[in-house]
């Protein structure tokens, strides 16, 4: 359905290659191995974005299951002002977080966004996502290799007088 992943993967490598070359050009940058290794971790999880339900998307993305945690503050409106633009943000007190993902269960594809968080970056992200209808929204935090999640429901209806 979306552009075939083969094409995008090669373009990704070309870009990263260019990125590395550019970095090498910057004399003052101590080019150690880390950026190359970090670049590899950036591979776009195309498959996970095409799957329907939460569980399949989590499985494809992490290959592990998640457990609820109260250390994640998921901030979403109770009633969405408008399903097309719903502010969503997640912040957590969990230690060494490496990634945060947002899932909207009732959307055609549950996975909405997947953030890779290097250690110098704080584990909180705000975003605006689309929600097809009243749905459960889940934020998943990968901390120390384990998955934790928080879930809330957002009511979404057609606005105004409708049809």
């Amino acid at each position: 359905m979306t552009a075939d992943n083969g094409f995008r993967a090669t373009r990704r490598l070309v870009l990263q290659g260019a990125g590395l070359v550019a970095l090498a050009g910057l004399g003052n940058v101590a080019l150690d191995v880390a950026p190359a290794q970090a670049a590899a971790a950036d591979k776009y999880p195309g498959k996970a974005f095409t799957l329907k339900g939460d569980t399949d998307a989590i499985q494809a993305l992490y290959g592990k299951t998640t457990e609820a945690s109260d250390k994640i503050a998921l901030d979403v409106p109770e009633i969405a002002e408008n399903g097309a633009v719903v502010p969503i943000s997640a912040t957590t007190t969990l230690a060494n977080v490496t990634s945060i993902a947002f899932l909207v269960s009732e959307n055609p594809n549950a996975l909405a966004a997947y953030y890779q968080i290097p250690e110098s970056t704080l584990p909180n992200v705000s975003n605006r996502v689309k929600m097809a209808k009243t749905t459960k929204v889940t934020a998943i935090v990968e901390s120390g290799g384990k998955l934790y999640s928080a879930t809330k429901e957002v009511k979404v209806t057609v606005g105004g007088c409708g049809g």
């Binding site: 974005f49 909180n124 605006r128």
Partner: protein, 103 residues
């Protein structure tokens, strides 16, 4: 063409808060246009923030991210005047990038 990326990066102490707004239709591929044809998917799938040659955030987005996407996050290890490079690529291969000064 004016950049499609608006960034505001403000550092206080060791923490820099970054806000970005990107001009992009983010079509999910599930919406029909006035004539009833499906608008093909056209959305940013990866957005990268770099500082000092290192990625400070890599955002992988699906079609569910809202039109003219907005993002806010914070990171440590940068100071006023540093450069923050932001670049995105979408599923049609279009790209844009800009470099912002941290205030």
């Amino acid at each position: 063409m004016a950049s499609t990326i608006r960034v505001r990066a403000v550092s206080s102490g060791d923490i820099t808060e970054v806000q970005a707004l990107i001009q992009h239709p983010m079509d999910s591929g599930y919406v029909k246009d006035a004539k009833g044809q499906l608008i093909p998917p056209h959305f940013i799938d990866q957005l990268v923030f770099e500082h000092g040659g290192k990625n400070v955030l890599v955002a992988n987005w699906g079609p569910a991210v809202a039109k003219d996407p907005y993002i806010k996050f914070s990171f440590k290890g940068a100071k006023k005047g540093d450069d923050l490079k932001i670049s995105w690529v979408d599923n049609k291969g279009a790209t844009d990038s800009t470099i912002a000064k941290i205030q």
